[in-house]
Structure formats: C-alpha cells, structure tokens
Symmetry: C4
Amino acid sequence: MRDKDQKRDWKFKLHEIIYEADTPTGKLFDVVLLITIIASIIFVMLESVKEFDAEYHNYLNIAEWVVTIIFSIEYILRIISVKKPWKYIFSFYGIIDFLSTIPKYLSLIFMGTQVLIALRALRLLRVFRILKLARYVGASNLLANSLKASRAKILVFLFTVLIISVIFGTVMYFVEGDQSGFTSIPVSVYWSIVTLTTVGFGDIAPVTPLGQFIASMIMILGYGIIAVPTGIVSAEYAAQHRGQLPQVPPQLPKVDMNTESCPNCSAERHKDNAKFCYNCGHILNEHR
Amino acid sequence: MRDKDQKRDWKFKLHEIIYEADTPTGKLFDVVLLITIIASIIFVMLESVKEFDAEYHNYLNIAEWVVTIIFSIEYILRIISVKKPWKYIFSFYGIIDFLSTIPKYLSLIFMGTQVLIALRALRLLRVFRILKLARYVGASNLLANSLKASRAKILVFLFTVLIISVIFGTVMYFVEGDQSGFTSIPVSVYWSIVTLTTVGFGDIAPVTPLGQFIASMIMILGYGIIAVPTGIVSAEYAAQHRGQLPQVPPQLPKVDMNTESCPNCSAERHKDNAKFCYNCGHILNEHR
Amino acid sequence: MRDKDQKRDWKFKLHEIIYEADTPTGKLFDVVLLITIIASIIFVMLESVKEFDAEYHNYLNIAEWVVTIIFSIEYILRIISVKKPWKYIFSFYGIIDFLSTIPKYLSLIFMGTQVLIALRALRLLRVFRILKLARYVGASNLLANSLKASRAKILVFLFTVLIISVIFGTVMYFVEGDQSGFTSIPVSVYWSIVTLTTVGFGDIAPVTPLGQFIASMIMILGYGIIAVPTGIVSAEYAAQHRGQLPQVPPQLPKVDMNTESCPNCSAERHKDNAKFCYNCGHILNEHR
Amino acid sequence: MRDKDQKRDWKFKLHEIIYEADTPTGKLFDVVLLITIIASIIFVMLESVKEFDAEYHNYLNIAEWVVTIIFSIEYILRIISVKKPWKYIFSFYGIIDFLSTIPKYLSLIFMGTQVLIALRALRLLRVFRILKLARYVGASNLLANSLKASRAKILVFLFTVLIISVIFGTVMYFVEGDQSGFTSIPVSVYWSIVTLTTVGFGDIAPVTPLGQFIASMIMILGYGIIAVPTGIVSAEYAAQHRGQLPQVPPQLPKVDMNTESCPNCSAERHKDNAKFCYNCGHILNEHR
C-alpha cells in the first residue's frame, strides 16, 4: 500500500513539473524546454545555409543528437506521467512531440534529407506548447479579446480586399498583357494583392500609361482602406480597455433585412414588415 | 379560375426562391448560384494560364458549358417569374446576367478569344448580386456607415494626396530626368504615387543625390499622412460604435465662410457679418 | 458724380466676381478658372510625354495659347478691379499669376524649353488659390485642426524617425559596403528611410547575413512605429470630434523640467524646486 | 577665503552653463553644441561620398579640425567644472565625449581610415545628450508615456510577428527553393519579414504559383495586423490624453491563470480554484 502511494506520489510530482508552470521546478522545466526548442529551430535553420553546413556539419550533427536525446527523454517522461498514455500519444501535441523527436533516428535508416528537414521544421509548432506561458502576460488577453470581437468585421474587410484584387487583377491582365509580366489572370491578381497591400515587390510592374493609371488607383485605394482594419481594432480595443464590451451597440439604427423583391416591378429593399411594394403597391408574398 | 390561381401560385413560389433569401429554398438557391459564379470566375482565371489551358483545355471547355447551361436556366427562370420581364431584362443586373451567359454561345460563331474572355470576366460583377446576403452580417453595416460618415473627409484627403503627388512628380521630372526612368511628368507623378503610398515598386528609382533627398521627403510625408485616414475612420467608427452619430459636432468652433476680399487692401478672411475691412477700415461690398 | 458712381459700381461688381465666391457669377468664375488651371497643368504634363508631343504638337500649341490668353485677361481684370494694383502685383499670388501667364510669350523670344516648362509647372501653385473653396467643406477644418493640434508631437516623431535612419544608415554602410549599393553614408541613410517607411524600392538591398538581420530590425521597427502618428492623429481627431479641445490635459502627471545636474555627483533629473541633490545631498545652484 | 569662494563661484557658473539649460547662456551653449554635433555628423557623411571627398578633401580636413578643437575645449571644460572628474570621465557620456574627440588626433598617428570613420560616427550618440532639451516639449512625455504603457503588448505583438515570419519563411523555403532566391531558411525568414511588414524590396520574389499564393496570404496578413499596434497605441494615447491612466482596467473579465492539466485525461484550462477536473472529475494536484 505504502509503495503504491509513493509511486503515485512520484508520478504526480512528475506530472506537475512537466504539464504545469506554477511551481519553481515546473517553470524551470518549461524554460529549459523553450530554450531547447528554440535551439533546435536555429539548428534546422543553420543547416539549410549551405556554406555554414559545409564547414560545421559535424558540430550541427552533434547538436542535433543532443536535441533529439532531450526530446526523447521528455517524450518518454510525458508518456509515463500521464494516466492515459494513449490519449496523449494521439493528441495533437502528442503527435507533434513524436514527429519532432524522430527525424534524427530516421536519418540513420533513410538518407533523404529534404523530407527530414521538413519534418524537423515541424518543431516550430512546439513553440505554441510553451505559449501557455503567455497567458501570464495579461496584456495578450486584452489583445486576443479585441481581435476576437472584431473578427467578423475583419473577415468582411478581407473579403472586400480579395474581390477588389480579383477585379483589378482581371482588368490589368487585359490592359497590360504579357509584355510586362501580367502573363495570366492569377498572376495579375497576385500583383493586385502585392500593390493593394502596399508591399510592391516590383518584379511585375505596369509599363503602359493606362496600366500605370489603374495601378495608381489601386495604390491610393490600398493606402486609404488600410484605415479600415485599424479603425476597427482601435475602437474594439478602446472599448475592451474601458472594460465595456458593447458588442451590439444598443442604439444602432435598425436595418431592414428583408430580401424580398416585388414580383411586379422588381423593386428591392422593402421594410421588414412590408405587405405591399413601396414602389408600385403590388402585394408582396401573399403566400407566405 | 382555379387554374389561373395555381399558375400564379407557382410563379410566386419561383419568384420567392430566386429573388429572396429568407426561405430555406431561397437560401439554397443563392448558395448554389454563389458557388457557380465563383467556379465560373475560377475557370476564366485558369483558362488564362497558358500551360494549364494547354493541358486541360477539354475539361475547361466542359466546365464552361456546364456553367453556361446553369446560367441559361437561371436567366430564363428569372424572366418567367417576374411580372414585367422587360423591366428585368433591361435593368443593370439583367444585362450583366445576359452578358455572363452568352460568351460560350458566341464562341460557336466567332473564334476570337480575347473579347470573349473579357466578356466572361464580367461575371465578377454577378458576385455583387449575391452580396445582398452580406446584409445579414450586421457588422458590415457599421463599417459602411462609418465609411459613409467620413466620405467627405476621405475625399479631401485623397485630393490632397493627388496634389502632393503632382507637385512632387513635376519636381522629380526636372531633378532626375530621363536617365533614371523619369521620362515624362505623368510617369513622374505615377512614381510619386507609388512612393507616397509606400508601395515602392523600384522599377523607377532616383539616382541623383538631390532626387534621393526629395524622395526621402516624399516617403516620410507618406509615412506620416497615412495616419490621417486612419484617424478619421477610427474616430467615426468609435462614434458609430458608441451608438452616437455626432456628424456635426455641436461645439465646433465657428468658422467664417466669408470669401470676400477688401477692394481697397485685398485683405481676406473677414468675419461673416463684416461690413468694414478689419485691416484698412474700407467698406466691404456696399452693393450687395 | 453719377458716372463715377457707376464706374465704382462696375469695379465693385468685378471685384466681387473675381475675388469672392458667394455670388452665382463669382462661383461660376471660380469654376471656369479651376478648369482652366487644371487643363493648363494637363497640357504641361502631356507636352513632357515625347511621343504625344511629337504627334499632337500643334494642338498643344493652340491649347497653350488659349490658356495663356485666358490667364492674361484674368490677370488684367484682377489689376483693374483692385484699388491698389501694385499691392496685388507684388503679393505672393500676384507673382504666381504673372509667372503662370508669361511662359508662352517668352517662348516667342527665347527658344529654351526646359526653363519655360519649369515656369509653366508653377501654375500648379495656382490651384491653392481655388482651394479657398475648400473652406466650404467644413470637414477639412476638423482635419486641419487635429493636424495643427498634433503638430508638435508629429515633429518630435519625424525627428525621431530621422535620427533612427541616420544611425541605422551609418551602421549599414559599415556592414554592407560598396558591393551591394551602400556606396556612402548619405546613400545608406536614404536606404534606411526607404526601408523604415516600408516603401522598399529594392534598388539597394542588403546581401550579407548581418546586413539582412539589421534590415529586418529596421523593418519591424518601421512597421511598429507607424502606429505612433496614427495614434496621435486618431486621439486628437476624436477629441476634436467630440467638440472638446483638451490640448493640455488637466490631470497630466507633472513632469519636472529641471535640467540642473549636481556639481558634486553629476546626478540629473532633480525636482523643479530642489535645493539639494537627491543623490548626494550637495547644494544645487546656490548662486541662482 | 574670498579667493576660494570666487573660484567656486566661477566653477559653479561654468557648471551651470555646460550642464544645464535654464539660463540664457546655458541655452546658448546647448544650441552651439547641437549645431557643432550636427555639423560634425554631416562632415563624416560627406567624407564617405568618394567624389565629394576627392574634390573637397582639404576643406573637410579643416572643418574636422575645427570640430575636434571645439569638442576638445568642451571636454576639458566639462572635466574642470565637475567636482568629481573621474566619475564624469568614466560615465557613459564621458566615454562618448572622449571617443568623439580623439579620432582626428589618432589620424595623425595611424593612417587607417575605416576604423576612425566608425569612431567618428559615434558622435551620433552625442545627439542624445542634447535631447534633454526635448523634455521641454511636453508633448514627447505624453508620447513616451503611452509607448511605455503599451510596451508589454507591443512586445507580445512583435514576438507574434517573428513567429509568423519564421513559420512562413520555412514553408517558403520548401515551396520555392533556390531558383527564385530562397537559398536558405534564414534568407526565407528575412524575405518573410520584408513581405509581412509591407516593405517588399523585390530582390527576392516568389515565382511558383503556390509560392505566390502563400506570399499573397502573408501580405494580406501583414496588411491586416498592422492594425494591432496602431489600435494599441491609439487607445493608450487616448487614455493618457484624457488624463486617466487605466493601466489595469478594473472590469477586465477575470482570466484563469491555472496551468494545471488533469493527470487522468490531460484536459487543460481548469478554474484557478479547481479541485477536480471539469472534464473527467479526477482529482487535481492533491499533493500541493
């Protein structure tokens, strides 16, 4: 009995250290893990730099093995300390943890590099595991809340940006054509997005006067509508900041949602409770 | 009598399905139509990619016929279900619907592609028909309202941006000249807009020290004045958000609109009710 | 007596038409003048496009003469209708009006084109004369006021942007050197401004890893601090919008302006009314 | 006794002039020093322009000597007027002042230019000494305060920008590869930052359809999230402006900081005072 209790005790402590961050040892574990993850990402990055890899291949190899062993130990400890190991193993983070650990072992069997590098790059996703620390930074909650509150409006905005890009991209394809890089409509739409967001790579640029005129319009439009998401987030954030959450402003002027159109004269935008067409007086939807 | 009623009934139901979105069948119709429109736009886009078209020309041809037939059926149904078909046929959307339907039929007669592609690209405008669904997203009303409220100010701002661009463009034409791409004043103005809106393609870039100095001024200016539309929309949006609509702030310091200038000393900016020049005491406009 | 009165009457009416905008004829005059000015600017622009000028030189010549004659008549009328003509002639707008009128006459005597084109471009400044119409757009006052209120802060901000650009530009000159276009410190500072303002022409771009790392820092900095002028204008504009003008917020935490530093220990940031150093107790400025 | 007093008197006055800015002579000293510093920076800049240096080398040499002598006198006066000279000499500004003064003297001994130019560029840091004048501009305090108040949130934001850049950079490395300039992951991350911040040099640009699609996503993301820092600073600034400092908004919805996860089912996000798992009912952390 005693023995079983002690074993449980030991498991509990391990669980506390690994999965939580409110004991000194738990915090230390998280910080060590964070450093290992960041180091492992930097190693993947450096290995992709050909000149660096050529010179320091051996050191990178050793460093990679160190990271792999630390990840292996962590993975085993995580499985041991949880009561239902299978649940962890097949959870999202369980799979990420597993995939982050195996590339080096696989490289002993297969010699293909590209796929293994891609696999190792998955370690980036492990950063999010550590981000639970971010919850301590109260600030990020305020941020997340105001973004969440303005989500619908930002989506409407992004949708508008996309439609504008498609329309202008199609127009530019006909105006400019192949000679200046507008080789197809998708490429023209890509260029439209590059221009509207004020990025402006310059790999594709209009050369005809009409093309440059339309490009100017896109740029001024992009320069102007950047104000819209900013205004939204500002207002939401200010509201959150003041501690009020007026998601649905009470005095918002009522908008008629009626999508009927008159069967007689095709007039639209009827009142919600309209029975007759405001334009020709014809009866609306008597069969409702 | 019965028969006529039933026919009317049938027409009404059709009208409800096609033109409205508040019955389940009406919503389904709109969703199917939206998907068809988006698919038709994607087909036009893909056909403009030469390599793709070369390989999958037959599939695109079939897809295009499917879309054309769906559009044809829709167009006929729309004409049938409306009481005054001619009014619909010559309405804005009626014409768009017609032009969106015919390109494939025309391609049987004529073989010219460019014009027909341009015609098919018009289908983009059909998206706006579906956007009446957007009215359900209450959010977009708030957005539209705050944009509408700040319309005048945004126009003043855009006009200022244009004047700045023309002035700096003209200056850059004289400073840089042909050797670095500033071949004419319109091109220089185009470059000014590219720079002021912080797009910066780089196809044209100043090379002389003075040109680079002026370019720096334009960039810092553009970086600074982007704050203006943002500030406007933020404030308007915040006002809308709070449910107040102080379009005309009541305590706004009164501005004298008097455009008279003294016939004696040419002084301007007189008080609105001024009878004598504040500068030289000469009588103003006695003949009014 | 009658005659003199009538003459005065005639002059007054002319003055009212030309210098003011609150009678129908006055407004018409302003609109016609605005169109002529804009047309004259477009002619200057088109003449700078070599291909266009080659083909339509004669038409442009005629159009230029028409504009010149209209401007001449307007100039003479302005002189006649003012009581003190010399005051108008040597005023800022008087000189601009004169310079806008003469280029075509001068072209009869001299054949040099560049200087005359530059002179004609001065007509752009005439646009500002018409902008007095903008006073009617009440909106622009609100804009101007909020910009004026935040002027000091925007200057501090621009000064900061300049210092950052100079520092990073100097650093990049030493890091990158000639091989990637950073040929001198001024050019590097120019590149810094291009990057910080998120314009990014790409005519000069870092190629060394360290250079690219520093460039990344500049870009993220530029991306972050664009929030500052926006925040300022937003807040000022919102304050103006609400009709309050809290230029000096009353509860602003008092800031000590004391620039003394202790003659004994060099400590700074003493209280405004400090008599002794807060750090070492030494007496401060007994000789004041 | 008299003599010592007078000497002290003289030293005090000198101290007042050099270290402070609230007497007329003190202000004059600061302005002269500011001009000298700015001139010295401009000389360093001009010397780096090869063509300019080739022609005006002698003038630059003389100007450099004048600046060096003024800095030398200032440095000696600063040492004399302070009671504890060593403290000043080894202070941050003391070292900067010393390093700003010596390059020209060193050039008499060594002939190496690059290092000395770098040393002279350090003079830029002297500008900050003068910035104590900026304290008079009350505006900058408001700015500094609102930036300080939103520091934590801006850091969270910048950290997010970095993570997004690393993830997208890695993805682009695999998608695009060498042929379009994405030669290694660090270079791809650099490109990601260039794109996300809407700078867009264009020295590296995607050429594959998938790469251009992902690039579009990055750009729209960058265009959207620029709203976040702007919103933060706007709200903070507005709060400061109103004279309220609601650093910790009182009605902020309480966020549970509990980082425990259930040892049985691995569920997370328990209430702060949770004793049992909300998901499976298992006891939490009984050994706490």
